[in-house]
């Protein structure tokens, strides 16, 4: 597959790993946060950690819209799905997220709710067209990458007069989340969790461009390197971050030049600006309430807003008291540090945001990396972290 296979080449991986090791040296430690869950997944799936020196540590950020979706919002989705006459269209990712009362969308479906998995908002629109006597509600989640498709669907619904198409909007914004992480007391407290730099999200950046990150680099004095989706991209970005730290630079660099420009996709941005506006605040599971971090439909499009149509009330649902996600998301703790990890909390029975989807730090570690922890405990192993 062109533009994919070349970016997974093992030989190049070895030489990039050697370069990182050489330039990181042994004098200091580096901690970088990869914000995007896709990067977490790539690092885990391809075993990138094995190719990094022990002085370079990756902290897994909250960049997974499913992980940070509060339980209360999933409860609302289930409530919508159970309304008579409603078809709830949803991406596959949310189907198994556990909600209140031991329910999930999948379980609600088993109990009779009409929940349909879709690949695209186009499919949801088609459902609305083919079922004029039903209300089709799109359970819209995702960061800036997934928001333009929702905006487009709403505009198309308006143009086609599809009064039975609605959106349950849970779109969230990346820069706000990064700020929030940097603001948290643990991080500002130097020595606890230094984050030396960020690996910026790949596909969010194709939409928003590299410009929004310039603020962090300046305000917080942290380098940001936007990385493509493939493991070689991630390694190259880590190398660029190491160099920035060594040089004392705090810039926004773009490794993903083949798809990301400074301005981003202006057409998509305009579309989103036309349909959505900022919520004053929004709860992020594991992070708490984050100001100006999420979107809702503008009044002009109120007819398509499921929350308004059904007069839904947001409710806060707390996580397990022993859940360490808040600390893990900020890099203060590691998955293995959490009392519940691997025991009460597993991918089969996730108790917190980090375990809920395969992108989460705990899920990735459990699925791909926990054999390392076990080996360390047992005193066995090749010295791999």
């Amino acid at each position: 597959m062109k533009y994919i296979d070349e970016f997974r080449d093992g030989k190049l991986a070895q030489s990039l790993g050697a370069a990182i090791t050489r330039e990181a040296g042994s004098d200091r430690r580096y901690s970088f946060m990869e914000f995007c869950g896709g990067h977490t997944h790539a690092i885990a799936r391809y075993g990138v950690t094995d190719l990094l020196p022990p002085t370079v540590r990756m902290i897994h950020g909250p960049g997974c819209p499913v992980c940070v979706l509060p339980i209360g919002r999933v409860d609302m989705a289930i409530e919508i799905a159970r309304r008579p006459g409603v078809i709830l269209a949803t991406y596959g990712d949310t189907l198994r997220v556990p909600a209140s009362g031991r329910l999930s969308l999948l379980k609600a479906k088993a109990q009779g709710a009409d929940v349909r998995m879709v690949y695209s908002t186009q499919d949801a629109l088609r459902l609305a067209e083919e079922n004029p006597d039903r209300e089709v509600v799109m359970f819209a989640i995702g960061f800036e990458t997934t928001t333009p498709p929702t905006a487009l669907a709403i505009k198309q619904a308006e143009a086609r007069g599809l009064g039975n198409f609605l959106v349950f909007c849970n779109h969230v914004l990346t820069p706000s989340a990064i700020s929030h992480i940097l603001e948290s007391p643990e991080v500002r407290d130097i020595g606890t969790v230094p984050i030396d730099g960020f690996v910026g999200p790949a596909h969010v950046s194709t939409i928003i461009g590299s410009r929004p990150y310039e603020f962090f680099a300046e305000e917080y004095q942290k380098p940001v390197v936007i990385a493509g989706f493939e493991p070689l991209d991630v390694m190259q970005a880590i190398l660029m971050l190491v160099r920035q730290v060594n040089d004392g630079r705090c810039e926004v660099e773009n490794e993903f030049t083949r798809a990301v420009s400074r301005e981003g996709n202006v057409k998509a941005q305009a579309l989103v600006a036309e349909v959505f506006e900022l919520r004053r605040e929004f709860e992020w599971r594991g992070l708490g309430t984050v100001p100006y971090s999420a979107l809702r439909l503008k009044d002009r499009y109120a007819a398509f807003d499921a929350e308004r149509r059904y007069a839904l009330v947001d409710r806060q649902v707390a996580d397990h008291k022993a859940c360490d996600c808040g600390a893990i998301l900020r890099g203060v703790r590691q998955p293995a540090d959490c009392r519940l990890f691997g025991d009460a909390c597993t991918p089969e029975n996730p108790l917190g945001s980090c375990m809920v989807s395969s992108e989460g730090a705990c899920a990735a570690h459990y699925t791909y990396g926990r054999f390392r922890s076990i080996r360390r405990e047992a005193g066995v192993g090749s010295g791999v972290r």
């Binding site: 695209s120 498709p149 030049t257």
Partner: protein, 77 residues
């Protein structure tokens, strides 16, 4: 987050739609979020929509950067 992949545009269709190909598998997707895409171009595909066109020259340049990483030692390292 945001699973997206580079696919090749094979054929343009009405209504901003197109057929794309990835390693022999084809799918119909929307080009409504991009402009001036022609058959033969590569686009980044996410949830049924092209997000942006992929720049082949930049892709080559990036690959070359990977290859030279192992060789060059930067100044002041």
């Amino acid at each position: 987050m945001c699973l997206a992949l580079p696919v090749r545009v094979v054929e343009l269709r009405d209504g901003d739609m197109a057929i794309v190909d990835l390693g022999g598998v084809r799918k119909e997707i929307s080009l409504a979020l991009v402009e001036d895409v022609a058959a033969g171009d590569y686009v980044i595909l996410h949830v049924g929509y092209a997000l942006t066109r992929l720049d082949p020259a930049e892709a080559e340049r990036t690959l070359e950067t990977f290859a030279s990483a192992g060789l060059a030692a930067p100044a002041g390292a």
